[in-house]
């Protein structure tokens, strides 16, 4: 049983997802359909493990992604048999399958009605609340989706996943400052998530194009630095750092007036210069070693490497000119 099935498959590359779902017949045949609850049998047979059910859940998601709906239904049936039809997670998975089966908007509307019905009976059914948000979003009704998410976060403000989704929704609407706020909430809950630091840096960098450039750029620089500090060789962090320093160096910022005493200030241009050099060097190293096929440097995604290479080429063109 491959270990990739034990982790949530949301960010797996397509090849791995396909590989996982190709394993499905094997897993479905070899694993027990339902673990008996009778005392004697459970003494004799191997005991059920948590991994088994995690595998089923993740397998189901991979199967839906690769379009093997029949096996997905089988997975769901086994999960439902074990945990009961009224288990919250099973309910959410069931809704997910229905959404996948739906062909037109009318069917989706019916599913949405069902979710509303479930939530009327039990407003704290968080998996269903989240499904509803996702369904609204996929139906293109982003503002409603944001409203639903906000009411969820009012009840449960410690849900980092929901905050991250809210940030993404706001970002898709171009509301940078709201998105930044939501991402900061994610960081409050998960203070050492370097990818969130980098993501926040990216948002700040984009926000700096629209308003209040020096402050946003300064914070973006610091966010990227923090994410690299937390995770060495983090390509996205270095990439963002390089972009930010290029921006800062190309248009020298006038010293922003310090409105508040502890506002983040843009570091001195010497520091920015040094950071720029360091980032360029590191990006070059990552690209070189990845392309050379060194064994420890293969973890990067191909697209990110390509982007980094292009960025470097563009930068060197500029210096040549």
């Amino acid at each position: 049983m491959s270990s990739s099935l034990l982790r949530p498959p949301s960010h797996l590359p397509p090849a791995t997802a396909l590989h996982n779902s190709q394993q499905a017949p094997n897993i479905l045949n070899n694993s027990p359909g339902a673990v008996s609850t009778s005392v004697i049998q459970s003494l004799l047979s191997t005991s059920e493990s948590q991994e088994l059910w995690t595998t089923y859940e993740n397998l189901l998601l991979s199967l839906l992604r690769t379009g093997d709906d029949d096996s997905a239904h089988l997975c769901l049936a086994r999960l439902a048999k074990r945990f009961g039809d009224d288990n919250e997670r099973v309910m959410a998975l069931k809704g997910l399958i229905k959404e996948a089966d739906a062909n037109d908007t009318a069917t989706l509307e019916i599913i949405l009605k069902e979710y509303d019905q479930i939530l009327q009976d039990n407003p704290t059914n968080l998996p269903i609340v989240k499904r509803r948000v996702a369904l609204l979003r996929s139906m293109g009704r982003t503002p409603e989706s944001i409203t639903a998410l906000i009411s969820l976060l009012d009840v449960s403000p410690t849900d980092a996943e929901a905050w991250a989704e809210l940030a993404d929704l706001y970002f898709s609407q171009g509301l940078y400052s709201q998105a930044i706020f939501a991402l900061e909430e994610v960081l409050v809950l998960q203070p050492n998530a370097w990818n969130v630091h980098a993501r926040l840096g990216e948002m700040l960098l984009m926000a700096s194009k629209t308003s209040d450039a020096p402050r946003h750029l300064a914070e973006a620089l610091k966010r990227f630095s923090r994410s690299i500090e937390l995770c060495d060789d983090y390509l996205r962090g270095y990439y963002g750092l390089k972009l930010t320093t290029t921006q800062l160096l190309s248009e020298p910022q006038k010293a922003s007036k310090q409105t508040e005493p502890d506002e983040l200030a843009v570091p001195s241009s010497a520091t920015v210069q040094k950071l720029d050099e360091a980032a360029t060097e590191k990006l070059a190293e990552i690209v070189r070693r990845h392309t050379a096929g060194e064994r420890d440097w293969q973890g990067y995604e191909e697209a990110e490497i390509t982007a980094a290479r292009e960025l470097l080429e563009k930068a060197s063109e500029k210096t040549v000119r």
């Binding site: 960081l187 610091k222 502890d262 983040l264 570091p267 040094k274």
Partner: protein
């Protein structure tokens, strides 16, 4: 001092089949039975209604903000602090805002609290009744039997522990009485239960007692008889005294130092 002659006691080998073995089997079976009784009697955790969940998670949100304030920049931390402090003080997160200032309900009359207590009672009962029964069973049938000799020497101090129920002063403490074997089983069968029932079983009482200590902290925070309004006030003060600094202060210098030193 002359070496004491090795004591030998002629034991009927049947003692093994009729005392040692039955006691062990009975102990293992009770453990398994207790496990399944606990599983059957366990009530599923009570579902929180929306308002309680909001109250508790808002509290935790404040705690998270207070303990991870360093990831935020100065202005964004102050904005959050002002919002949380204001909401805590006006009681915006309270489950029932109109009950502010009133003393919390008596936990004995609160039906929600009764559930928790009943659960504890049940667990204790599942522990106590079989133990009492088995102990009296052993006392009635097997008291005074010396059943095995430990394969290692042991000091006299253990005599009262190992030879409970056998009132012989001169006997080597290595000899064990049946009631002592029972006690040894109580404490020693944990690994057997782990093997039979998996590691999170409810069979052994040692694990139960340990487990009893663990979740106390979580229960106390939101437990019955705690006034959430007071907790919010405390949290407000905690937030107010936070002296803000940010990890972002000087992070670029730290980073450059780190890169340079490599």
């Amino acid at each position: 001092m002359a070496r004491l002659p090795v004591q030998t006691i002629q034991r009927d080998p049947q003692l093994f089949y009729w005392i040692l073995f039955p006691i062990t089997v009975v102990m293992v079976l009770t453990g398994i039975l207790r496990h399944y009784a606990t599983v059957l009697m366990a009530t599923s955790p009570k579902k929180l209604d929306q308002k309680t969940m909001r109250e508790q998670r808002s509290m935790l949100h404040g705690v998270a903000t207070r303990s991870n304030f360093h990831v935020l920049s100065g202005p964004s931390f102050r904005a959050r602090r002002d919002y949380l402090t204001n909401a805590y003080e006006t009681g915006a997160f309270l489950k029932s805002p109109d009950q502010r200032g009133q003393p919390p309900p008596n936990p004995m009359t609160d039906p929600g609290a009764m559930d928790g207590m009943m659960g504890m009672m049940k667990n204790n009962m599942a522990m106590m009744i079989p133990n009492t029964l088995i102990m009296s069973w052993i006392n009635a049938f097997f008291s005074g039997f010396v059943i095995i000799k430990l394969p290692f020497p042991i000091t006299v101090k253990f005599k009262s522990m190992l030879q409970a129920g056998v009132a012989t002063r001169e006997m080597d403490p290595r000899w064990m009485s049946s009631i002592s074997w029972y006690f040894l089983c109580i404490f020693g069968l944990q690994s057997v239960f782990n093997f039979l029932l998996g590691s999170d079983n409810a069979a052994s009482q040692m694990a139960q007692q340990m487990g009893g200590m663990g979740p106390q902290a979580g229960a106390q925070m939101f437990g019955p008889g705690v006034d959430p309004d007071k907790q919010f006030k405390i949290e407000t003060e905690n937030l107010a005294v936070v002296e803000h600094y940010s990890v972002l202060d000087g992070v670029e210098d730290r980073l450059l130092e780190g890169i340079m030193s490599k």
